[in-house]
């Protein structure tokens, strides 16, 4: 069950990153297009590179979590999922809380941050479920494997 929740969360989060995050006039931009404007936001140089690497790295991170789960490294998969949810949620939460900038020519678009945040929450819940269920399993099989 935890895995299914986490899987939905990962997909939702990654989908959210491709939904509108910034509106400028009638034009909207997804989170990656916003990152491409990092020079304008003063995030040039190393800081901009790190922020981009971390955010673009979310999809590979989601993929790694899924692959680890499939090949049955579940606890590690749960930890990676937790990391994914934390990063995505940390970025999406302030944006989603600030909400739609109605009346402003340039502002945050709520769709992307809200969906990403929802996905991050699901991922974290799913990852915790996977981690705790594995822990319970370990407790119930004292002595480990023969």
């Amino acid at each position: 069950m935890g895995a299914a929740i986490a899987a939905v969360g990962l997909i939702t989060s990654v989908t959210g990153t491709f939904l509108p995050w910034l509106k400028s006039g009638t034009t909207t931009r997804d989170s990656y297009e916003v990152l491409s404007l990092r020079d304008l936001a003063g995030l040039d140089g190393v800081a901009g590179g790190v922020v981009t690497a971390v955010w673009v790295g979310l999809t590979p991170l989601a993929m790694i979590a899924a692959v680890l789960y499939v090949v049955r490294f579940r606890r590690i998969a749960g930890c990676v999922g937790l990391l994914f949810g934390t990063i995505a949620g940390t970025v999406a939460l302030p944006a989603a809380v600030q909400g739609d900038s109605k009346g402003a020519l340039v502002g945050i678009s709520i769709a992307g941050p809200a969906v990403t945040l929802a996905g991050a929450v699901l991922t974290i819940v799913g990852a915790i479920t996977v981690l705790t269920s594995n822990r319970r399993s370990a407790v119930r099989t004292p002595g480990g494997n023969p």
């Binding site: 895995a3 400028s24 006039g25 304008l40 003063g42 673009v56 899924a66 692959v67 340039v106």
Partner: protein, 487 residues
């Protein structure tokens, strides 16, 4: 919950109905105990397992290899079924890698700043600008402008907004990136590509011939502070938005010529340029043509040298060197217009003044280095005037008048004495404070580095001076101004 492989058994070891210990590595195994009801368990091949332990590699998926029961060979009947656990896992992993890789590649491509870095042709660059203008895409406009122009806008928008907030002109939560109170809309914008005018290898004037641009402004949405809104409330309508439509088609018919939108080439990409577009409008107004060849930039080895060379060239009346010492990125338009500007200026002779010494202080400012005067000595018609700065005090040596010293904190007192009580006390205080701010910061120019050479930036120098003046004001000065407006 079922998992791939392992014959569809429950994954969690505690759920094993047979009480069997889980295999190492967590991989599933066919249960060896007899099935409830006394039926013999069958292996993947459909043959009875005969109580022999499974011999497949432990801890690895069984990759579909059938396990042969000891002592028995397959005998007729159904061919053995291959176990597909490993295959399924491999397929799932492959699909995940493929999808994840594709999404990551797509995301990387979209997040690359190069995605906004100009266009391949001048026509596309110009059209993009108009489209962005029409959709009110301020961010897009900022990103697609020529890099040096975009950097200028960005660098000073934040600084000016900060000062406006400090002076309580803008609300504390005003965001310079959220341009409130204005909307743009464009319709049927068309360029005549055949009429595009190629001035030189890096400048093309695109011809806008049709369309409409509508601008709707709403003052009430501008993040001005309440006290300022109250003050201007009587002068402007705060409740109604105003809409103005710019009919390009009608304007072109009226002018008898298309509207030029300049695009410039920077590192093999084309960008719309506000500076070149303004210059083109000015040339059209004066019925002048772009020079075929501009002045080559001529930078200095350091920020101080650039400032010194500029002062020397200005005193010598050498307009060409002055223009050549301007940054080729920000002020390239002046260098392209250089021969025409020199021609229009007519013959400019030397001022007769000679620079004897120029010592400077240098400090970092946004986008460059500010070079301020520390000591200046100039000889004019045989008389040498020297000005020396010491902290926020200036000492001047003037022939026949000896040495005079003035410090920032003496300005107000001096104004009161010189004004003889005619200047309102509030005005004396404001002027004194602003002048003191300039004296403390120092007067100078901003030099920028382009391609390893230093140039003097007129726009950045102007902005830094404006910021210095702003920093001399206080919120109560704005209140005084508001009181004046209300009278």
């Amino acid at each position: 919950m079922s998992y791939p492989g392992g014959g569809g058994g429950q994954w969690q070891p505690q759920n094993n109905p047979y009480g069997q210990q889980p295999q190492q590595g967590g991989y599933p195994q066919q249960p060896q105990q007899p099935q409830p009801g006394g039926y013999p368990q069958t292996g993947p091949q459909g043959f009875p397992q005969q109580g022999y332990p499974q011999t497949g590699p432990q801890g690895f998926p069984q990759q579909g290899f059938p396990q042969q029961p000891y002592g028995y060979a397959p005998m007729g009947g159904e061919p053995p079924k291959k176990k597909r656990t490993g295959l399924v896992i491999t397929a799932v992993v492959a699909v995940l890698l493929l999808v994840g890789g594709a999404v990551t590649f797509f995301a990387l491509k979209k997040s690359d700043p190069a995605a906004n870095a100009g266009q391949d042709t001048p026509a596309v660059a110009a059209k993009n600008l108009i489209d962005q203008l029409g959709s009110g895409d301020v961010v897009g406009i900022m990103a697609s402008l020529a890099p040096a122009e975009a950097a200028l806008s960005k660098d000073y928008l934040d600084s000016m907004t900060k000062e406006m907030k400090r002076l309580e002109i803008l609300k504390p939560d005003a965001d310079p990136n959220k341009l409130s109170g204005v909307e743009f809309k464009s319709e049927n914008i068309k360029f005549d590509e055949a009429k595009a005018e190629k001035i030189n290898d890096h400048l093309t004037i695109n011809k806008l011939v049709e369309g409409k641009i509508t601008v709707t402004s709403d003052v009430s949405k501008v993040p001005l502070t309440d006290k300022l809104m109250d003050a201007i409330g009587d002068k402007v309508s705060l409740t109604k938005s105003e809409t103005k439509t710019w009919d390009i088609t009608a304007e072109v018919q009226k002018r008898g010529a298309p509207i030029g939108i300049a695009t410039i080439k920077v590192k093999d990409k084309w960008y719309p340029s506000a500076f070149y577009t303004i210059a083109n409008v000015a040339l059209e107004e004066e019925k002048l043509k772009w020079p075929q060849q501009g002045f080559a930039p001529q930078g200095a080895g350091s920020a101080q040298d650039a400032a010194k060379q500029l002062v020397t060239a200005a005193l010598d009346g050498d307009l060409k060197t002055v223009i050549s010492l301007l940054p080729p990125d920000e002020a390239g338009v002046l260098q392209d217009l250089g021969p025409l500007l020199v021609e229009q200026a007519g013959k400019v002779g030397p001022t007769g003044a000679k620079l004897n010494a120029l010592e400077t202080d240098v400090k970092d400012v946004t986008g460059g280095k500010q070079v301020t005067v520390k000591k200046l000595s100039v000889t004019v018609e045989g008389d040498t005037v020297s000005i020396t700065r010491d902290g926020d005090c200036y000492a001047a040596e003037v022939p026949g008048q000896g040495s005079q010293k003035l410090c920032a904190d003496e300005i107000t007192q001096l104004l009161q004495q010189q004004g003889g009580g005619k200047i309102p006390a509030q005005a004396v205080e404001i002027i004194g404070r602003v002048a003191a701010s300039v004296m403390k910061t120092g007067v100078g120019v901003v030099s920028t580095e382009v391609g390893g050479k230093w140039y003097v930036s007129p726009v950045r120098s102007y902005y830094e001076l404006a910021l210095t003046l702003f920093r001399g004001f206080e919120p109560k000065d704005v209140d005084a101004l508001i009181a004046l407006i209300k009278k």
